[in-house]
């Protein structure tokens, strides 16, 4: 199986402004050496807390951020060096949907205008009539009425605005959609509508999703594979069912047990982590999770574990699962 998107050694450090008395510039380690293959037609969920680098990963793939090191290949082509027609093709193929649909729509553009603009820029529509027809089709595709094209964003509810955000991402016929907390701001009854829309679009258009979220219920429902990030690193990557059944990494276990369940029955005992996610300016030595890990030993503090495949398709970065050398 060839990967649609191949990410190798992707690293992104944000340099902080140097203060007068500092000798060296400090860097936020947002992404450190990420390797990831996204296969055509799959939904890969990226889970992690704030500061884990999950949003930076999405933003780097759509080139809203320049990577510090590493490569991203789309259909075998290096995204970094793309120019001209190749560059335009890549930008059409990978689109992003953001958390807050209101903040990502221009309040002074009608919905029809906002949807037609990317198609005009990329020469997808010949004239105004073709643009109108294309906008009408897009709106129907995401469950809105074509005549809503003349309305402005304020006239729509949160769920409808997110549908417009999805329509705009679809307007250029993308192959990969990066969804950054795309359902997190929505009410429960609307969230399930949008999740269903994502599933339908995937089936109809053969889309591939990178789904960034902190909601494990959503992850369980929508994903084929799940990746957990902690302080800029991948700590576990596995097929969905294996991920929820095996939950190898201690951080994964804590995350799953921390998710509140809407049932009154007996629950598994909660693993309450001590402390908070450390500062990404100077990540802890050894395993980055050792400061909060209930199972940390001396080796965790000293030696950084590597991401290892422990079962087919199941990778973990933890000394508990590293075969003795």
């Amino acid at each position: 199986m060839t990967a649609l998107l191949e990410i190798r050694g992707l690293t992104k450090h944000f340099g902080l402004k140097k203060s007068l008395f500092q000798r060296e510039r400090q860097y936020v380690h947002a992404l450190d050496d990420i390797d990831l293959d996204l296969v055509q037609g799959e939904t890969l969920s990226v889970v992690g807390e704030s500061g884990s680098g999950k949003s930076t990963l999405g933003r780097t793939i759509v080139r809203l951020e320049q990577p510090t090191a590493g490569t991203i290949r789309f259909e075998g082509q290096d995204i970094g060096g793309a120019q001209g027609a190749q560059d335009r093709h890549l930008r059409q193929s990978i689109q992003m949907i953001f958390q807050d649909p209101y903040a990502s729509l221009n309040p002074r553009l009608s919905v029809g205008h906002a949807l037609a603009e990317p198609m005009r820029v990329h020469g997808k529509v010949a004239d105004a009539a073709a643009a109108r027809a294309a906008v009408g089709q897009l709106l129907e595709r995401v469950g809105l009425q074509p005549d809503m094209a003349n309305s402005y964003p304020f006239a729509f509810s949160g769920g409808q605005r997110q549908r417009i955000g999805i329509a705009r991402a679809l307007s250029l016929g993308p192959k990969v959609l990066i969804c950054d907390e795309a359902v997190s701001a929505l009410d429960v009854s609307v969230q399930s509508q949008i999740l269903n829309l994502f599933s339908h679009l995937k089936r109809e258009l053969g889309l591939t999703y990178l789904f960034i979220t902190h909601d494990l219920g959503v992850v369980r429902h929508i994903s084929d594979r799940v990746m957990v990030m902690y302080l800029g690193q991948v700590v576990e990557l596995a097929p969905r069912d294996a991920f929820f059944k095996r939950r190898l990494h201690p951080y994964t276990r804590a995350l799953i047990s921390a998710a509140p369940q809407p049932t009154t029955g007996r629950r598994e005992p909660r693993i309450l982590l001590q402390g908070e996610i450390p500062n990404a300016l100077n990540p802890p030595s050894g395993c980055r999770f050792h400061t909060r890990c209930p199972q940390a030993t001396a080796v965790c503090k000293a030696v950084e574990p590597v991401l290892q495949e422990v079962e087919p398709g199941h990778q973990v970065r933890c000394h508990l699962f590293t075969a003795p050398a």
Partner: protein, 329 residues
């Protein structure tokens, strides 16, 4: 079995908003109560009036809001009838509140110790400054802040989101209020920090023997922390009961729909259940049941008459024409 008396009771409370010179009703005939020592969850989607319900208790409503009737009884006294100076004595001492976004609720130019101490300065005037500092440091320790002596003199920007929320809780419980209200206290926090803060609130409740009113849209949080639950939709209570009633035997089509819409950690396949349409906005409510336009069990009566909250079991009430109501022809 005798039921303990209600600490806080809403009786037929109605609240409207002035929009373009007209008063539009949002909260209609709100009636529910919190028993002393229990945790009550108020659940609803955005715009259902759950935050306004909490602000009504403290009388901190926005300018455009207009109380249209009813009573809010706290220990037998109607809060709506108290003078402003009496409310100032009640706020922070008897009833306090934790808000969603700790950064916007904390003052950036004062140390956190000073902000916690302020509550004590106002409500415990006899306390000397040394004693107050000691009490503040003790509170910081109680809410699980490491190195409380150093943290006392730090400013909000030096703390993480989870720690700021702990400071907010310390401010709220400084005077050991009988009622602590929390409006989406963990929504802005990460999952592992949310679990810590929820555990802390539970601890605090047991230490202070107070009651908690938890306002949230997160049904998981409610199931894990609340004894009793009120489900609101578009300004009305549609169902209320014990956590078991609501999660194991939900009766209102809206409650059932909400629970079925949640993607479960246990796994689900195919399409998720979803409630069609979206929450109506204020000023656009129909004459009958406000959920009727989205309800799959809608009948003629639903769009015509308002269903009353009716008891269908001990403490379990539902407002729905399809459940336990006598339909008048």
């Amino acid at each position: 079995m005798t039921t303990p008396p209600a600490l806080l009771e809403f009786r037929g409370y109605r609240l409207g908003f002035r929009i373009d010179g007209q008063v539009c009703e949002l909260i209609d005939d709100l009636s529910f109560s919190i028993r002393a020592g229990s945790v009550l969850g108020v659940v609803g989607e955005s715009g259902c009036g759950k935050s306004m319900t909490a602000l009504s208790v403290l009388r901190l409503l926005p300018q455009a809001a207009a109380v249209m009737g009813g009573e809010i009884l706290f220990g037998g006294r109607d809060l709506l009838a108290q003078s402003e100076s009496e409310m100032e004595r009640i706020r922070g001492r008897d009833i306090s509140m934790v808000f969603q976004e700790p950064m916007t609720s904390l003052n950036p130019v004062h140390s956190v110790g000073r902000q916690i101490g302020e509550v004590l300065r106002i409500h415990r005037p006899g306390m000397g400054s040394e004693e107050r500092r000691a009490a503040t440091i003790d509170l910081l320790r109680q809410v699980g802040i490491a190195n409380p002596e150093q943290r006392h003199d730090q400013f909000p920007h030096q703390l993480s989101g989870g720690m700021r929320q702990r400071i907010m809780i310390a401010i709220a419980v400084a005077c050991r209020p009988q009622l602590l209200m929390a409006d989406e206290p963990t929504t802005a926090l990460d999952a592992t920090i949310q679990a810590q803060v929820l555990a802390l609130m539970q601890d605090i409740k047991e230490q202070t023997e107070g009651s908690i009113m938890l306002i949230t849209h997160n049904l998981g949080v409610v199931a894990e922390t609340c004894d009793e639950v009120v489900i609101m939709y578009a300004g009305r209570v549609v169902e209320s009961g014990s956590a078991q009633d609501i999660f194991d035997r939900p009766q209102h089509p809206y409650t059932q729909g909400l629970l079925a819409s949640l993607p479960s950690l246990a796994g689900s396949s195919g399409d998720l259940h979803s409630i069609p349409g979206s929450v109506p906005s204020i000023g656009n409510f129909g004459p009958g049941c406000r959920f009727a336009p989205r309800c799959t069990q809608r009948r003629d009566v639903c769009t015509r008459d308002v269903p009353r909250l009716t008891s269908i079991g001990t403490g379990h009430q539902v407002a729905c024409w399809a459940v336990g109501q006598e339909v008048t022809p």
